[in-house]
């Protein structure tokens, strides 16, 4: 089944080079995205049974596809699949309008659009593979493929800064991922030491490690390489340098995908490896938890500080992505029960952040620059986008009805029990982020119009597809927030968390 999914997306990539008109390519892009999303959700359905409550919450160690298969699907992967499906579909719909607008204004040529519509399906395909793959080698290849497929997208606008961002992106991420490869090799070697098995299946690793007798300090070496390697892809602080450049230079639909799904996919794969390490070390995640706690705190405080002096609204959103990844890592670091708030936080952040990047794209189309200084008086010139952007931003900054509020409250609750000082540091950093982002956006939205903002002749902004997508994702996040409050919601989230740590309550 997943083969068909990859096949469809690959064919989508190929058709981009057919001799069709620019409009046809864009329509085709949307069709391919729609079909692949529906198929992805269809694949995830068996694990969705979890939500309907027929099956037991945890689909057992073998996952839906049975023991030896190349793919592994459990409730966490099902959630990730549906997230990627939704956001890739919304990104395709947005890029249909976005590229049409750019093409009309002669910013992008037809070959660029062909490149775009060949790279994006490949990127989405590699994310699907990375989420589903049970084979460690395939997982590594998929992660590397995500980097390679998005490099050209980062260098999409032929500007010098875009190519610089692409160069840094490909170099740093490839370096990170190759360190990850070292970790993968060491963990396979450790798992294969007693029985000479050469299968690279994560599920078999789990069985071998659960049986015990594995060389623990080799596993520790492996986990360090894995954490730093894949951590670069997730964007933890000392390895985050590529993220603000890459996410602010790509066209907005792609940066919505990057921030919304790619970071989460890398984070989930890191959690998969962490599960194997925890089983080997039998210490219920204490040793690995330290990593997540320390890097999590770093990844919250440093972006919070940089956001105070940030001058570019897309980089601001990119730093906010780093901060939210840090929050999730911090939650994981709080102990075995910390997985629940992290898993709750993941969809909330994905939905809201991608919607914010889409909104930023809309602002970019009108103001032609991502620097915040020239962007003024957005409230009057783009009223619909501004209202939606502000509401989504508030939801992201954990204002009650949003899912992020629930997860952050649980996180602080658990954090205070045993890590008082780091949690207080995180709460203060959250306040700094809250104020920095809101002040940045507020000065953009409500400042007096400077001379160059009177570009369009006062044409009132019409209700276009961007607003539809933003409203849908806003409502989805709010409904998710309310859903977490119902006992059913909490039960399902605990079910998803159990797929990472079966020993959970």
């Amino acid at each position: 089944m997943p083969f068909i999914l990859v096949l469809i997306l690959a064919s989508g990539a190929v058709t981009a080079y057919l001799p069709l008109s620019e409009r046809r390519i864009r329509d085709l892009g949307v069709v391919v995205a729609a079909v692949s999303s529906v198929l992805a959700v269809y694949i995830a359905l068996p694990a969705f049974g979890v939500f309907v409550g027929e099956q037991s919450l945890v689909t057992g160690p073998t996952g839906v596809f049975g023991p030896g298969s190349l793919w592994y699907l459990d409730s966490l992967a099902a959630m990730m699949l549906s997230l990627i499906a939704l956001i890739s579909l919304s990104s395709a719909v947005i890029s249909h309008r976005y590229l049409a607008h750019e093409f009309r204004e002669k910013i992008v040529s037809l070959t660029d659009i062909r490149h775009y519509y060949s790279m994006v399906p490949l990127f989405v395909a590699s994310m699907y593979v990375a989420t589903l793959s049970n084979n460690v080698g395939l997982l590594w290849i998929a992660l590397e493929a995500t980097t390679l497929s998005t490099t050209l997208l980062v260098a999409f606008y032929r500007k010098r800064s875009a190519i610089e961002a692409a160069w840094k992106y490909v170099l740093l991420c490839s370096l990170g991922i190759s360190l990850g490869l070292v970790g993968v090799l060491l963990i396979t070697y450790a798992a294969g030491q007693n029985g000479a098995n050469s299968s690279l299946l994560l599920s078999t690793f789990r069985d071998i490690v659960a049986a015990g007798g594995v060389n623990t300090d080799l596993i520790k070496w492996a986990f360090v390489f894995l954490f730093i390697g894949i951590g670069t892809k997730v964007g933890f602080v000392p390895m985050h340098a590529w993220l603000p450049d890459a996410h602010s230079k790509t066209p907005s639909p792609v940066s919505a995908l990057l921030s919304g799904t790619l970071l989460n996919v890398a984070f989930v794969s890191l959690l998969r490896f962490r599960q194997v390490t925890d089983m080997a070390l039998m210490d219920d995640g204490a040793w690995t938890g330290k990593f997540f706690l320390v890097f999590g705190c770093l990844s919250i405080v440093v972006p919070a500080l940089i956001m105070v002096i940030q001058k570019n609204y897309k980089r601001l959103l990119a730093y906010s992505s780093i901060e939210h990844m840090g929050l999730m890592a911090f939650a994981i670091g709080l102990g075995p029960a910390g997985i629940i708030p992290a898993v709750m936080h993941l969809p909330g952040h994905a939905l809201l952040k991608s919607s914010l990047f889409v909104g930023a794209g809309e602002i970019f189309l009108t103001y032609k620059t991502t620097d915040s200084a020239p962007v003024t008086d957005v409230w009057k010139r783009l009223p619909k986008t501004a209202v939606l952007f502000l509401l989504t931003l508030l939801m992201l900054l954990a204002v009650p009805p949003s899912a992020v509020f629930v997860s952050e409250m649980i996180m602080v609750g658990f954090g205070l029990r045993d890590y008082l000082l780091p949690t207080l540091l995180v709460v203060v950093a959250l306040t700094v982020v809250f104020v920095a982002m809101l002040r940045h956006i507020y000065t953009m939205f409500f400042s007096a119009p400077t001379v160059n903002t009177v570009l369009t002749n006062g044409a009132v902004e019409k209700w276009n597809v961007t607003h539809v997508v933003m409203t849908i994702q806003l409502i989805a996040a709010a409904v998710l927030g309310i859903f977490y409050l119902t006992p059913k919601g909490l039960e399902i989230m605990v079910g998803i968390a159990q797929s990472l740590n079966s020993g959970l309550l």
Binding site: G137, V170, L181, W221
Partner: protein
């Protein structure tokens, strides 16, 4: 092709040492042609090492040695040099450190690699020490090259030296990785090389930029 079984350890060690020598020498050179040639030589020794390991180890290593020869000895150097020639990049490479002290830096990284190798050795019981040390040495040399050199192409070569180090580690510990994964890794590496050289060619043609020192626009 020495097939004598008894002297296989001797051949692997000698091949590993010569691989390390090429990597070490390559790290000191400042002409594009030279470092590409040293990289090709280094990959050749890697292939030899794989063959010697295959002699008493897993039969798949022959295939991976073949893969190394096709991809790393022929294809990647070709991609890099054609791209450099077509964008008429000047062969001279720049670095934060002048040629003489750069050997000193490589020496330092070698020492660090030996230290790392020694500390991980007890964990990897079967694999012999020399191979792990050479793997770590290649990785650290590649890393140092990427960190110290200023121009684009030497960073690519540094990255691929690091890649070779990982390949040795893979061969030393796991013997042979299943075919699917092996091919996958080779393909991704070549696409990586392709992309990096395309980017450096675009930078050279559109903005006459060869030195990453000029790529410092994205600052907070």
């Amino acid at each position: 092709m020495m097939t004598t079984f008894t002297s296989s350890e001797v051949t692997t060690i000698s091949l590993a040492v010569s691989f390390l020598l090429c990597a070490f020498l390559g790290s000191g050179k400042f002409r594009l042609g030279q470092i590409v040639r040293y990289y090709a030589l280094q990959s050749l020794f890697l292939a030899g090492l794989l063959i010697s390991l295959a002699a008493y180890g897993d039969k798949h290593l022959y295939l991976s040695a073949l893969g190394v020869i096709i991809f790393k000895v022929i294809l990647i150097p070709a991609i890099i040099s054609t791209n450099a020639k077509r964008s008429s990049a000047s062969g001279r490479l720049t670095s934060f450190v002048r040629p003489a002290p750069s050997y000193f830096v490589s020496g330092g990284t070698l020492l660090l690699a030996v230290l790392a190798g020694m500390s991980i050795a007890p964990a990897l019981q079967e694999t012999d020490l020399i191979l792990t040390v050479t793997a770590f040495a290649a990785m650290f040399l590649g890393g140092a090259m990427m960190a110290v050199r200023r121009d684009l192409y030497s960073q690519i070569i540094g990255f691929f030296t690091l890649e070779n180090g990982i390949a040795i580690l893979a061969a030393a510990t796991l013997g042979a990785i299943p075919l699917l994964a092996e091919i996958g890794i080779f393909l991704t590496i070549t696409i990586g090389a392709l992309l990096m050289s395309v980017l450096s060619r675009r930078l050279k043609e559109l903005y006459a930029v060869e030195d990453t020192g000029e790529l410092r626009e994205l600052v907070d």
